[in-house]
Amino acid sequence: MDDRGSNRSPVIEVCNLDLKIAEHHILNKIDFTIQAGNFVGLIGPNGAGKSSLLRCLYRYVTPSAGRITFFGKSLFDYPRQEYAKQVAVVLQEIPDQFNLTVFDVVAMGVLPHKTLFSSVNQQDKTHIFNAIDKVGLNDKAQQPFSHLSGGEKQRALIARAIVQQPTFLIMDEPTSHLDVKYQIQIMELAKSLNITVLASFHDLNLAGALCDEILVLQQGELVAQGVPIDVLTAQLLADVYDVRASVVPVPCPYEGVVQVPHIRYHYGCKS
């Protein structure tokens, strides 16, 4: 894996970002910076604008105002293919028809590195099989993608991202609809890549345990950001999610000296 993200410089800087769709404010004056090598979680209730913010970052939508820079240069100044070489995205869009094999789906990761006239060579194939091996799908490489379980599909999409050789990985709710085992497996896999990651989460405990930093969105506004132990407080959960919960610091499962928040929700009593 390319280790361009090892120096601690900003990968992404977002300044005064606004997104309006049909006169609706989806995102409002968003400001944040993501440092190289950080694993950043994006949280917020449904409809807070998480996916819209990620879409701005992977250039699927154009912001109404504001500026996003990637390694100091405006996001939209990068040629499309050049940006795709550096930024990989794992979404929940999953091809179910057309009998694509796992290999076909993973191999699409070479696309940004190829011109119209170049073909997939032996070196590319080795790289593709290594990525499939890394996510543990070796024995399923020639199976139809649609035959995989939810967790395996996500792993295959991460393998595609690995083939892209990115410096920055964006993941939109990669653990939704997955069993606990697969949630942990997917996130540990993403963490093991040692590149800058921005992922949106619904599971706050998972976000708290894994992320170096957390961004909290509420109704299109960034209401908090910082290390999980500082951000995920009982007060914030009450304000943003409208739930009562107690937050207990526990040792981080990955770096035992660091304290991470463990949230216990209080069921049956309204705040």
Partner: protein
């Protein structure tokens, strides 16, 4: 079976079928006569004249039409991510029929090159309207295209029906015959047009196969892989429309091939590969060679319409495959 083996088997099947198709027809021709016509053509020999002047361009056109329609279907199914998409769903065929009927109504011409020209103009009109509707949309482009295609199809069909209603019965039967499809209009003079369009489109598809296949992952995922989704989709729509327009103009309405061949091929080989694309084109061509043979030899002194045979064979074969698949899963 490996992809290369499938392509090799198909190639040999096409060559053998090509040869058999030259032999079969209303007039019995021996293998020696076919070989002689191909290697040492004697224009004075009646049998050889039939082979070279009538059957050869016809078999070539059948192969080209089958390949082209299968490719057009593959393109449309891929860029719309809809396995039911085919050239006829987008109103291109209805546009062609409309062009022909307008020609009848205005000039009374019922045959010849003008007929093909009118069909082509009608297809281009439908394609242009579809492109105008789909262009500029970033979200819901696929849905807009499919709905617009269905609407255009009905719109052109209604205009066609109205004009037919006002036409004389002789014109109606001529139009219906044209619409059922035939390769009888094949001749050396015009074969360059479908051949060059189909080969050109094949080349473009081979070059763009990676961005085209990336669309199968979804618009957002394709964008993140550096694909200009709107440009690729509209370009491919233009390409498949051009293919269909040229082939409909040359052969009339030949349904089913564009819908079913990519489906059938997908059972055996991944369409994301170069071999998958070549297999689709060759399978379409092979099928059409045999459809044309059936059309010529089924009844004495009578030729069956191509469209009738493609629909009948295709639907039965497709049902059989679905049942086989159900059992095996």
């Amino acid at each position: 079976m490996k992809g290369a083996t499938i392509v090799a088997t198909l190639f040999i099947s096409c060559l053998v079928s090509f040869f058999i198709a030259l032999k079969l027809g209303a007039i019995a021709i021996t293998t020696e006569q076919v070989l002689q016509a191909l290697w040492q053509y004697d224009a004075g020999d009646f049998s050889q004249k039939i082979i070279v002047e009538l059957r050869l361009p016809r078999v070539i056109l059948a192969f080209i039409a089958g390949s082209g329609l299968a490719m057009a279907g593959l393109i449309l199914q891929t860029v719309t991510r809809n396995p039911l998409a085919d050239p006829y769903l987008f109103g291109i065929s209805s546009g062609a029929s409309f062009g022909v009927v307008v020609l009848f109504a205005v000039t009374g011409i019922q045959a010849g090159l003008a007929l093909s020209g009118a069909a082509f103009a009608g297809s281009l009109l439908a394609m242009t309207l579809l492109l105008l509707i789909a262009k500029g949309r970033t979200s819901g482009q696929v849905e807009a295209m499919l709905l617009a295609g269905v609407a255009l199809s009905f719109l052109f069909s209604s205009f066609t029906s109205l004009l037919l209603y006002w036409s004389d019965p002789q014109a109606i039967s001529a139009i219906l015959f044209w619409n059922l499809g035939s390769f009888s209009r094949a001749d050396w003079q015009w074969l360059w047009l479908p051949s060059s369009v189909v080969s050109g489109c094949m080349l473009i598809m081979l070059l763009l196969r990676r961005p085209i296949n990336a669309l199968l992952l979804g618009d957002e995922s394709a964008t993140t892989l550096g694909v200009s989704v709107e440009k690729v989709r509209l370009g491919m729509l233009l390409l498949s429309s051009l293919l269909t327009a040229v082939l409909v103009a040359m052969c009339g309405g030949v349904g089913f091939v564009g819908l079913m061949i990519p489906h059938i091929v997908r059972f055996f080989i991944s369409q994301a590969t170069t071999l998958g694309l070549i297999t689709t084109a060759m399978s379409g061509g092979l099928l059409m060679i045999w459809v044309d043979v059936i059309a010529r030899v089924s009844f004495e002194n009578q030729e069956l319409p191509i469209g009738v045979i493609t629909s009948a064979i295709g639907s039965v074969f497709f049902l059989f495959l679905l049942m086989f698949r159900k059992r095996s899963s």
